[in-house]
Every structure is written in structure tokens, then in C-alpha cells.
């Protein structure tokens, strides 16, 4: 065991994968010499050489398209897109080719690749550097979408994603890269994709979130417990395939749910969660599923971030409102 933050856990996962599987290669902008703008691949090019870890031209569609071809030819590429706001030029490759080749070829050709995308705001970054568009990936049939919020999950889910026979969009919460430390095994281990993680058990209500918003959700849960509310906290940590049973089981028990995400509310993934709950647990619901989310605005620049980012206070307030109903 060794105590690491989420960024180090990802670095350990990628190193472990390169070590244990010759088919694994890393490809992306500035991931070699500099180890990536977030240093997630720090030291890996020195360790494994320039034929395993590739710096690329600034061309996201090319990065994903090339990694896709490599995957079809039997390799296990892990592509890095520098920020989620720069994943859009690759969206066509992802939705039209990566997600479809298995279906197009009736299983004859497959694309076992991982696309790493740092996402979310809160670091006072420039425009396009604070996106949370998980919904546009979770809506695409043929992809899996994974979002760790702890160092342990980060390594285990990354190794599971690299093992996975289908393409995985791996979303990395920028704000959590260095926020939490945790003991994780130095050896190879995986965490199952497709299962909700019950982070905390409780009876009065269910808080549901993923990624960086788990931080505010945890804070809100603690605050609520202090006020005598027994809270269950779910970290979805896989958005697709979604573990509907895991969500419904919890809400059937608590009767109340607040779903929290940083993305704009309209068409955000919280809508899917709320829809499933009302579809399958309407008669256990003591109050509507509340959504605490980003607003339907563009993520603002540094000086206005506070106006946008959901806070633990908002979560607590929503929870209280839910309890009053």
C-alpha cells in the first residue's frame, strides 16, 4: 500500500498497464517529454520509451482516429485529450467510428481503447477548460463512460477500462487530481465498471453524484448528518452502462433523492437519473428528485466561478427542501 492522490493513482495505473501488457501504448499532446499538462503521464516516456508513449501534433480527431486504428489492429491504446473542451474536434471519430465499429462489423472488428478526458471547473482556468459534458458521451450507444472520484477507484477503474473489450471514455475530475490522498495497492487491481458505489449508508435520503461534485456532496452529507439526517451517498462512478438497480434500491429505501452535477441542468445526466427514479420508484418517493446542478450558462471565467459552481450549501438546502415535502 502507498498513499497517493488521484493524479498519482492514474500515473500508477498507466505505468502498471504499460508494464503488464505490451499492447498498451499512450498517445496524446505533450504526454511524453512533459508528462502531460497535469503530469498524469509523468516519467512514463523515460521509463517505457518513445515507442510506447507518443507525443502528438495538436489534432484531437487524429489522435482518436489513430488510436482507434491501433485498437482494431490489436493494440490497447490510451489516448489523452488535454481538456474536455478540446474533445469536441474528436467527437465525430468517437461517435461515428469508435462507438460503432463493433456494430458495423458485427463483432468482427472492435475498438478496445481508452480515451482519457480531464473535466470540470473550479481551477480558475481559461475558457473551454472547465467543461462538464458527460451527458453527450453517456448518450452514445457503444461507449462506456467512467468517472472516478477517489484515488483507489481511479487506478482500479483505469485498469478495468484498459482491460475492457469495448471503448471507454475515462473522465478525470481535474479539481480532485490533488485534493484527496488515500492508500492504494501498488499492484495490479481492477474495480468493476457498471456498478454504483455506495460510499455511505443512510436511511432518510439519497445523495447521488459523480466526479468532482462528490467533494461538495460529501461535505453536504456530513453537514446533514450533523443536523441529524441519515444520508446515503452514491458515487455513480460509471455513467454508462448505468446501474439503475443500484440507484432504485437506495431510493426505495430512503424515499428521497438529490442528484448533483456540475454540468448545466437542462439535458444534464441528472435528468436521466431522475427519470429512472420516477419510472421505477415513483410510489416510494416522498418528494421529487431534486437536481442541484450548474446553471444553463457557459462555465464562467475565474471571477464568476463562484456564481456557477454548485456548493455543499445548495445541496444541503435542496435536501432540507426535500425533507419538508
Amino acid at each position: 500500500m502507498t498513499e497517493v492522490n488521484l493524479a498519482q493513482a492514474l500515473n500508477s495505473a498507466l505505468g502498471t498497464a504499460l508494464d503488464s501488457d505490451d499492447r498498451v501504448v499512450l498517445i496524446g499532446e505533450d504526454i511524453g517529454r512533459t508528462g502531460g499538462v497535469f503530469r498524469i503521464t509523468d516519467g512514463l516516456q523515460e521509463r517505457f520509451g518513445a515507442k510506447r508513449v507518443f507525443d502528438t501534433p495538436v489534432a484531437e480527431s487524429g489522435i482518436v482516429g489513430a488510436a482507434f486504428g491501433m485498437a482494431i489492429a490489436g493494440m490497447r491504446p490510451v489516448a489523452e485529450l488535454q481538456f474536455m473542451g478540446f474533445s469536441y474536434p474528436a467527437y465525430d471519430q468517437i461517435i461515428n467510428h469508435v462507438a460503432r465499429i463493433r456494430n458495423r462489423s458485427d463483432h468482427r472488428f472492435t475498438a478496445p481503447l481508452v480515451i482519457r478526458i480531464p473535466f470540470g471547473g473550479g481551477i480558475g482556468a481559461a475558457e473551454h477548460h472547465s467543461e462538464s459534458v458527460e451527458a453527450i458521451y453517456a448518450h452514445v450507444p457503444g461507449l462506456k463512460v467512467v468517472v472516478p472520484s477517489t484515488p483507489y477507484d481511479a487506478k482500479g477503474l483505469m485498469l478495468a477500462a484498459i482491460e475492457d473489450p469495448d471503448p471507454v471514455i475515462f473522465l478525470e475530475p481535474i479539481r480532485l487530481y490533488r485534493a484527496i490522498k488515500e492508500d492504494i495497492p501498488e499492484i495490479y487491481y481492477t474495480v468493476d465498471i457498471g456498478k454504483v458505489r455506495v460510499e455511505r449508508e443512510g436511511d432518510d435520503m439519497t445523495l447521488i453524484s459523480w466526479g468532482a461534485m462528490m467533494k461538495e456532496t460529501r461535505a453536504a452529507a456530513t453537514e446533514l448528518e450533523n443536523q441529524g439526517v441519515s444520508v446515503e451517498v452514491l458515487d455513480l462512478h460509471t455513467l454508462s452502462p448505468l446501474d439503475a438497480d443500484g440507484i432504485v434500491t437506495s431510493v426505495e429505501k430512503t424515499g428521497r433523492a438529490v442528484v448533483v452535477h456540475e454540468a448545466p441542468r437542462t439535458g444534464g445526466f441528472g435528468a436521466e437519473v431522475a427519470s429512472i427514479i420516477q419510472e421505477r420508484a415513483l410510489y416510494s418517493m416522498s418528494s421529487p428528485v431534486m437536481r442541484v446542478t450548474g446553471w444553463d450558462t457557459i462555465f464562467p471565467l475565474k471571477r464568476s466561478e463562484g456564481h456557477y459552481l454548485p456548493s455543499s450549501d445548495q445541496i444541503v438546502a435542496a435536501a432540507m427542501k426535500s425533507l419538508e415535502e
Binding site: 501504448v25 515507442k51 507518443f54 502528438t56 501534433p57 489534432a59 480527431s61 487524429g62 482516429g65 489513430a66 488510436a67 482507434f68 486504428g69 491501433m70 485498437a71 482494431i72 489492429a73 490489436g74 493494440m75 465525430d92 471519430q93 461515428n96 467510428h97 465499429i101 463493433r102 456494430n103 458495423r104 462489423s105 458485427d106 463483432h107 468482427r108 472488428f109 472492435t110 450507444p141 457503444g142 462506456k144 473489450p165 469495448d166 457498471g194 454508462s240 452502462p241 448505468l242 446501474d243 439503475a244 438497480d245
Partner: protein
Amino acid sequence: MYSLISPDGTVSGRLPLTLDQMKELYADMVEARAYDRKSMAMQRQGRLATYAPFEGQEAAQIGAAAALQPDDWVAGTYRDAALMWRAGYPWSLLIAGRTGDERGGSPPPGVNVLPPSITVGGHMIHAVGLSWAEQLQGTKRVALTSFGDGATSEGDFHEAMNFAAVYQTPTVFLCQNNGFAISYPRDEQTRSESIAMKAEGYGMPGEQVDGNDVAAVFTAVSAAVQRARNGSGPALIEAVTYRLGPHTTADDPGRYRDGDETEKWRERDPLLRIRRLFEKAGAWAEAWNEQLERRANESIEVAVAEAEALPQPTRDEMFKRMYAEMTQPLRNQLGEGTS
């Protein structure tokens, strides 16, 4: 522009192919044309979904595919049936695909030909990735990607060309310049005099060849394939040809080009040219040609029968095709049924 056989069948210099090789290439073009004509007919009978004919481009496709090894990679388009077939993709599966059946996208093991790309431009970079992987894995395989003149306008063309050059991947870029992107003529698509010269901007060799001259295409592509296989990097070949038919069965060329132009190109028909070559060489026999056509039609009829014998795809196949293992949401939805 590199060419070996002129439209009237005269050879400039010595032909680097034997008569038997030429006969094989001709026979393949005959079979390809039989497939193309049959497909057009079937589409009109409602037996196929929209079809994109390649009549006039047989030399570019057969010549290029003949330059490959059986296990090389191919990433082509909706118009590349002849190329894909010559590279090992069975007619029956190509037809199945056009009937609207995903099972048509699955060539036999060992045939490294991707199902046709329907999006314009997106697939060239796939060939770069495929051949890059082969290079890293130490095989001698190369990848050939075929695309049209219109596809060179897409940003993905630029990124694919650049990646191939930067990493010196064993990739051959074959542009079939057939004069049009649907209704938009080549001369309006770009101000560069040729598509071949675009290669320079990537530090890659580029060559323009007469795409209706099967010997020239075969020779030029063979050279590019050899370079790639020997580790000398990628190349771009522009095969100048012409689409004699409509863009697809849904298209009306009368809206954007006049018949005279098409007639002019009929004179440059790639099959006619070989016929004339053989006639000059005294190697043409009407009976032989009829036999080729008969055999071609027979093999296409067999393929059609196979394709149409495929049972109606079932509902659960649609769900099963999505992932290696069906996900829980899909299992639930499959269970819902359609009432």
C-alpha cells in the same frame, strides 16, 4: 501524369506486366463491372438500399488492390466494392451490406478489410493507426486507404496525412479523383492544380496517375506499397478517373454535368482500353471475353443468392451487437419487447 496505356490501347514504352497479368486484371475488372451493373438493377427492383456505382473506376480499384498482399489492411469507402473484393472481401457480404444488413460488415478471418466508410474523410486516419500498429508490432503489413477527391477537403484528410508523415507509418493514400463530390466538381473543391501535389505540404511523395489505366495504377501503387513495406514511409497517389454513373441511385447527374463530358469519358473506359491493347497485340478473342462475362455474371448471381438467403436479422441481434457482453440497460430494454 503517369500512364502506360493510352485510351486507344497503345503502350508507351515497355509494359512492366506480363500478358497473363494483364488478362487477370482485365478479368477482375469484368467481374467488378458485372457486380456494379447487377447492383444498379437490384436497387431499381427494390432489392438493395441506395447504391453508389463505381462504373468507370474499375481500373483504379482493381489495379490498386492487386498491388497488395492478402493480409494488408484496406480502409475504403461506399464506392470501393471492387477494391474491397479484389482485396478479399466476398461479393456476397458486400451485397448483404447494401440490402441493409449489418452482417455484411463482417469479412472472413484473415481478410483485413474494414467495412466501407460511409462518412467522408473519417477513415483515412484509421489506416494510419492500423499501419502504425503493424509497424510497432514489427510486422510487414501496410495499410491502403482509398477515398475520393471530395474527401480531401475534410480536416481529417489533413490530420491523417500529417500523422502518417510524422510517424512515417506504412500507409498508402489512394485518392480516386472521379471529378465530383456529388455535384461539386473537382476544380471548385480546391485551387491546387492536382491533389497529388498536396502531399508536398506534408513532406510526403505524391504522384498523379491515369486512373483508367489499370497497368499504371498497379505499377504506381505497387511502388508505394513497397516503399511503405520497406519502412520508407507513406505516399499519396491520385488516380484521375471519372464516375460514369450517378453519385448514388438517389442522384440525378443531369442537374450538374452535361452528357458530352460523360461521353468523352466513355471513350476512356478502362475496360475498353485493355480490349484495344489486346486487339493490337492480337491477344483478343471475343469468345474469351464472353466467357469472362458469363463467369462473372455467374459468380455475382451466386453471391446475390447467398446474400438474399441470409435470414431476416432478429431483434436481439441488434442488442447483442453493441458490446462484447450485453450491458444491463440493454438487457432490460431487450426484455421490454416491442409489444
